[in-house]
């Protein structure tokens, strides 16, 4: 996981948008649509695996209402 991999030097940026709350129903982060395993493993993942996660995110995002929960993390 942490060793050398087939990267080209063009590492995809983390899809985190700072919402960082898991949705108990979907098991996905409400912000970036990643699973816990995908978030926890992001830093050590290969470039190819990161691209797979990003593509999966895009599909998951389309399946969910992209505006849902957008303004629901007000805690004050």
């Amino acid at each position: 996981m942490n060793g050398a991999d087939d990267c080209t030097g063009d590492e995809p940026a983390s899809p985190c948008i700072g919402l960082c709350q898991m949705d108990d129903e979907t098991g996905l982060c409400k912000g970036c649509f990643r699973t816990l395993e995908e978030i926890a493993g992001w830093s050590g993942a290969s470039e190819r695996d990161k691209r797979v996660v990003i593509e999966a995110n895009r599909l998951r995002r389309e399946m969910h209402d992209p505006d849902a929960d957008m303004n629901c993390n007000c805690e004050d």
């Binding site: 060793g3 899809p15 700072g18 960082c20 709350q21 982060c29 303004n71 993390n73 004050d76």
Partner: protein
């Protein structure tokens, strides 16, 4: 090129509201460096548990005492009974829970109160993940901050003293908590110290681990020189960065309420009056246009929201 990190070290890369969490696996137990923001504590707990894989979290160590690095301390302490180690020099603030000294009331940020079990002093060697790490004092962004250097692996855990592109806000300078120029000078000395260490890979407090250390230092020195030449720029940057941070925590803020909100936060109120010589309305107008232009926030139906596009 992707940094190659020791197998006993796992970086949980987070965003800007929460710092990265660095987990060291030590046989049946583990050590964590920095715990993220309090609003993300539930996810931090779940991520750490996922990475622990049944190991016991024995120690939690903080690089410095800002809300995005200590926000998960209380929750992790409650869940794991881990011992918490903080940089020497801030123990009174933590024991007395001095919200002003911890910049919580000043910047309107939140942390759940925790108790610490021990201190780490600059110069000390500690073992994490079976590797030797020396704590170095890294004042500037936070005057008591530490960075951790592993000479055998040439790794640096830099906290907010050095990022791939810049470093954290120099709070003591903009808030006038130190003699004028002193925190800027400390920042320069911290960069000099980092430059003097044998470092191949930096694990920053925010962003991905990186290996182009010389380039990062060059950018940091350049940024510092710009602040030294024009201190007001530092305050403008701080207002933009802190408001973007707070908006991530709030989730949304009606644009019509922005001026009142800025007026309610000592950091914004003070800098607007003292440095920018703007009233709250003028600050709100300036800030909105700057952050919209930079793409850091969006305006949706009269409400300011963090830019959510990934």
């Amino acid at each position: 090129m992707k940094p190659c990190l020791p197998a006993s070290l796992r970086v949980i890369e987070r965003g800007w509201l929460s710092s990265n969490n660095i987990l060291f696996l030590e046989g049946g137990s583990a050590t964590l460096v920095d715990s993220g923001y309090v609003g993300h504590a539930a996810q931090t707990q779940a991520l750490v548990a996922q990475r622990l894989g049944g190991r016991h979290l024995e120690r939690l160590i903080n690089t410095h005492s800002h809300s995005d690095h200590i926000g998960g301390n209380a929750a992790l302490q409650a869940a794991h009974g881990c011992e918490i180690f903080i940089p020497a020099g801030i123990e009174e603030h933590i024991t007395d829970w001095n919200e002003e000294a911890l910049l919580l009331s000043v910047a309107k940020q939140r942390v759940d109160r925790f108790r610490h079990d021990g201190l780490i002093r600059a110069g000390e060697m500690i073992e994490m993940g079976g590797l030797p790490w020396r704590a170095h004092h890294a004042p500037g962004h936070d005057m008591e901050a530490l960075v951790f250097h592993c000479p055998t692996e040439k790794l640096l855990i830099s906290g907010d003293a050095l990022w791939q592109d810049g470093f954290g806000i120099i709070f003591a300078e903009i808030l006038g908590l130190a003699e004028p120029g002193a925190a800027l000078q400390a920042t320069r000395q911290t960069l000099d110290r980092i430059a003097s260490l044998d470092v191949r890979t930096v694990i920053p407090g925010h962003g991905a681990p990186f290996i182009d250390v010389e380039d990062a230092l060059e950018r940091a020195y350049k940024r510092l020189a710009a602040f030294e030449q024009d201190p007001a720029r530092m305050s403008r940057n701080a207002i933009k960065a802190c408001f973007t941070f707070n908006l991530l925590d709030l989730g949304a803020l009606p644009a019509a309420d922005l001026a009142a909100y800025l007026q309610s936060v000592p950091l914004f109120r003070d800098l607007a009056q003292r440095v920018l010589e703007m009233d709250a309305e003028a600050l709100a107008t300036w800030l909105t246009s700057e952050l919209l232009r930079a793409g850091a926030i969006a305006l949706e139906n009269g409400t300011l929201v963090p830019r959510r596009a990934a």
